[in-house]
Amino acid sequence: MTLLVAATLVALQAAAQGPDRRLARLDSLTRPTVAALIDSARAAALPTEPLVQRALEGATKRAAPDRIVAAVRRLASDLGQARDALGATASPPELEAAAAALRAGAPPATLTALRRVRRESLTVPLAVLTDLVGSGVPVDSAAVAVLSLAAKARDADLVEFRRAVERDIALGAPPASATAAAAAFAAGAVDVNAGAKQQRPGRP
């Protein structure tokens, strides 16, 4: 009986470590390579779910096998660089956001600096940085703005900051100027709010 239980457990453990069943949606050429990339990422303690999702995205969009493999491989590499920049304690959402930021052109040093200045999750600051660059803001300007806000701003403040920049760009402002102006405004708003909280009577 003990042998039966042990054999069942071993088999299930092997199944748990086996290829993700969702990868069955990939064609027979792509699946083994993607599975191997995912196994390598798991062995390196990198999050594997983004890799699975990237492969599934390619499958759903009927991309060619070599494009799917290249996309997964590139993302795995980006996740590794993101972990190097943010440290081993970074959460999977942070690593995924950092990988996108690196792909957008953010230097690893900016990611490391963000980790130093912000205690809360870096997912939203990194996403805002990536989105600003995607909106045409130069990487340096976007990095300076996000770094200046990241220490105190809440996630919602950062998202609102990004919207303000995009709105100003849509209205014709140069991206770098729009970013600097919105950052200055947001920093002021954060300080005002912090002061108002301190002066509010009867609250801890």
Binding site: T8, A59, A63, P93, E96, A100, T123, A156
Partner: protein
């Protein structure tokens, strides 16, 4: 076949009245046995519980029971923390899920599906609904935990649309547009 009752009783009484001779060493032997028993100590309940825990036992188990136990172990082994947080996708939860609405205008569309990182890019999992039967506005609401998600709209099963109200995914490597939504936790 049977003796009369009085005669039988009389014989038993006479037998019981016979003097009994005890062995002279009986008392000594009884006391020696008592002395050889382990002494009772304080903390008896805890010690007894510990002895119960460490004593080897034989457990009898039916095959069905063994399989049930194996199933419980399997559930623990197979559970992956990075799969349990949101529909079809999983990263470790870095916050609680909150409902997030998606809206797209797709005139003349017969069907629109919301497809992305949050539903394994499965076009059948999150069909969008028309706001009204005669209008071209389609909506879907799904729970999302904090994180960054890539997604798109699949119109009539063949045409991909990015979300015009959201940032575009820059690392779009498959030749069709995707958008990005970031859900914050604070």
């Amino acid at each position: 076949m049977f003796e009369p009752d009085e005669e039988l009783i009389g014989r038993v009484v006479r037998q019981l009245r016979q003097p009994v001779t005890l062995d002279a060493g009986l008392d000594a032997r009884v006391m020696a046995q008592i002395a050889s028993l382990p002494a009772r100590r304080s903390g008896g309940a805890a010690r007894a519980a510990w002895r119960w825990l460490i004593a080897p036992r034989t457990v009898r188990l039916s095959p069905l029971g063994a399989l049930a136990i194996a199933a419980v172990f399997a559930a623990v082994v197979l559970w992956r923390p990075d799969r349990a947080t949101r529909p079809g996708r999983g990263r470790p939860a870095s916050g609680s899920a909150s409902d997030f609405g998606f809206v797209v205008v797709a005139p003349r569309a017969a069907t629109v599906a919301l497809v992305g990182d949050f539903n394994d890019w499965d076009a059948g999992r999150t069909p969008m609904r028309r706001v009204r039967q005669d209008e071209s506005v389609w909506t879907a609401v799904i729970p999302l935990t904090p994180g960054r998600y890539r997604y798109g709209f699949l119109v009539d099963g063949v045409r991909w649309l990015a979300d015009p109200a959201a940032p575009a995914a820059r690392d779009d490597e498959f030749g069709t547009p995707s958008s990005v939504v970031t859900v914050g936790g604070s």
